[in-house]
């Protein structure tokens, strides 16, 4: 197998839009996507005519199971006035949107299109909550993984307990990821749980936090999070606040060929690396503390972009569970194997740290509408690189950003690298 290589044409992202992420009874995928599309339209610095969009690539995990509606790409295209352009749905479980993004990229590089829209959408909260975990489990391997009695919290709990065993991490190590992501998400108005954990705890009316007390330290937060009533165990060592939520949300991105990017944008964000890899089921891998498809996708993306992990200023990684973020920061090469947990404990991945991770709040705080999440990551990178991330803007004028989006237990992983020039 050859490695990834340069595309025949460069591609830039010139517009992004995102609905609120959360639970929105009465809104379908179409409604959520319209919100994203409208915001994307206004985000293009120099404006554009939607009739110039030549194709639509939609990430959607399973409208089939969540809404009883498959085949959503042409329907969403119609809903935002883009019929009769080609419209394709791509599915790679929770990595669906980054699969769609990669194909949008190739679509432009192929010469077929100059401008495409990439979207992601998922409407998860219509399905009765008792069935959501089963619907998500269809993203895992039903023959080898699910039949062993696992659903996703169990898979990632296995990775977490292996990580504890192998590297001496503790449940507190994982909690530090959640605390940090909720601190970031508290500055993101679109986040589903956009609040610091103490505030969320208060909202849950637990007795762990009294009104009027001084703002708690992270040590206080750990104490709250260790309370079984406040933060029940889901699958040891993963507790409620180690898990990303069930969410509704939509995202729209506008991609154009590099040559014409400045016709639309004062400050286009260029896609300089794209890596994608697949894998078999969990049992066939040498270790539970690393995801091989992520390592390979990262390697291919770095090679294509001609950069290394050290060059990346910020990253949005796939923190479906807190352990997943720690493993991601190692698979991406930000930290050595076994050091990601320590890095989280030491605050190296906070907004103030040297390697900021999930400044948006991540899936944990922002929400995880599975087919949209990978596109939501790109929204954050785009805004941070352009200096438009508001209260959560990084100080250091980031130039290179990365997204890492995982499907299943790692059957799919896509890594993309973005540059501000």
């Amino acid at each position: 197998m050859r490695k990834s290589r340069k595309l025949n044409r460069g591609v830039a992202v010139v517009g992004v839009g995102m609905s609120n992420f959360g639970a929105f009874p009465g809104m379908s995928s179409r409604d959520l996507f319209v919100d994203a599309f409208k915001e994307m339209r206004t985000s293009v610095d120099k404006g554009f005519d939607p009739k110039e969009i030549e194709a639509f690539y939609l990430g959607n995990f399973s409208g089939d199971l969540f809404e009883g509606q498959a085949h959503q790409a042409p329907m969403l295209a119609d809903w935002v006035g883009l019929s009769p352009i080609p419209a394709a749905r791509l599915e790679g479980a929770c990595a669906s949107a980054s699969v769609a993004f990669r194909e949008g990229l190739l679509g432009i590089a192929s010469g077929m299109y100059d401008m495409v829209m990439v979207g992601g959408v998922e409407k998860m909260t219509d399905l009765h909550i008792s069935k959501v975990t089963d619907a998500l489990a269809t993203a895992a391997d039903i023959t080898y993984e699910v039949s062993a009695g696992f659903t996703f919290p169990g898979f990632y709990a296995s990775m977490a307990s292996a990580y504890m065993h192998q590297y001496g991490a503790t449940p507190e190590t994982f909690m530090r990821v959640g605390i940090k992501n909720h601190e970031n998400g508290a500055l993101n108005k679109k986040a589903q749980f956009g609040a610091r954990i103490p505030d969320l705890m208060e909202a849950k009316k637990t007795k762990a936090l009294q009104k009027g007390k001084p703002i708690p330290t992270w040590k206080d937060e750990i104490e709250f999070l260790s309370d079984d009533r406040a933060n029940p165990l889901i699958a040891w060592p993963m507790r409620l606040f180690d898990c990303s939520p069930v969410s509704d949300g939509g995202v729209a991105l506008l991609l154009v060929s590099e040559e014409i990017a400045h016709q639309f944008s004062d400050d286009p964000i260029y896609v300089i690396g794209s890596g994608s890899a697949s894998a078999g089921a969990l049992h066939s891998r040498p270790s539970l503390t690393s995801i091989p498809s992520a390592k390979l996708a990262a390697q291919n993306a770095y090679e294509m972009a001609n950069v290394t992990a050290k060059d990346i200023d910020l990253a949005e990684v796939h923190d479906c569970f807190t352990i997943a973020e720690i493993i991601a920061t190692e698979d991406l090469g930000f930290f050595d194997a076994g050091k990601g947990g320590i890095a989280a404990e030491e605050g190296l991945t906070s907004r103030q740290g040297p390697q900021p991770i999930n400044t948006s709040g991540g899936l944990k705080s922002k929400g995880h509408p599975v087919g949209a999440s990978g596109a939501g990551q790109i929204v954050e990178i785009w805004k941070q690189l352009r200096g438009q991330a508001g209260e959560r803007q990084l100080d250091k004028s980031p130039r290179l950003g990365l997204t890492h989006n995982v499907g299943g237990t790692g059957q799919t992983c896509n890594v993309h690298i973005f540059e501000r020039r």
Copy 2:
């Protein structure tokens, strides 16, 4: 919106493989795809190393609903030994495989890949038959189409009754399509119902056909097909033998860039045209007797290939219902509007006629494993153009072939044009 244009690189199909189509209890999508993959391997004239395959594009409509297994692209890639290559599932309802084929084409044209595998798979018969029509209905618009009380037989029955009203066709017009496709399918060992209609009738132990009688004429067949017991009404005027079956099946195709095609094949089949279009729901269209996305996809494909309908030697079209084939032959420009029915009656679309349609047996006789059907069409065109279609081989040494694959009620349509040089 721009029209489709030339790709940055040409692409050829150098291998094809297909499982039997039918109902196979005990076989999953993985098993079906393995059969297709193995045959594809042996079909490559000069051989190849599967490790050279750089990416996998899978068409699959809804493993989610049919098998409780989404995310099948990486799992099938693993199953045939191709991990860790990028693996994407594409879904465009019954056009899923042609959506995957188009993206495979763009993947090579983009410069990212030199060799990709495109597949299609569906395992429909595990789901209880009472739920299959509901599962298929998720490919239609649940807000505008299904909520009006329609499932697919109803949609196409509406098109058929409109066609009768507008052009004076009769139920017999539609029956002629089924008779012709079963005649073709009787020569296709992989077809699900690979037998002429009288033989199928006999197998159903109807009294309409007595053993030992001379082979019936098409007039006899019409008589059988008009018998309500032998051929029950599904949705007037569509009877059982106007409907494609519920099927299991898998297909694998090997695509390479034009420059290297002769390294693998003595006789590569070049993809010279690709058109794709989308549409909104049925109620928003001006007419029930034409599918606008099909007309546009055809127009774009012809322009890209620089040919017209008159140049096409044979076509595989999407005959999910007999009326659909008639409309397809008009939308593709083979016959004027309203003349496709007459053409079918006059035998113009038979293997001996000037415009052979569905020499494979079509979805009607060969079977319609929905996510695989569009790739199955390409198998037939590839074999016919290479002179390898066995008993059903066309005499006229066809040079240009076309595939037409529709999703939903026409929300998606893809047209591809293939050339033997």
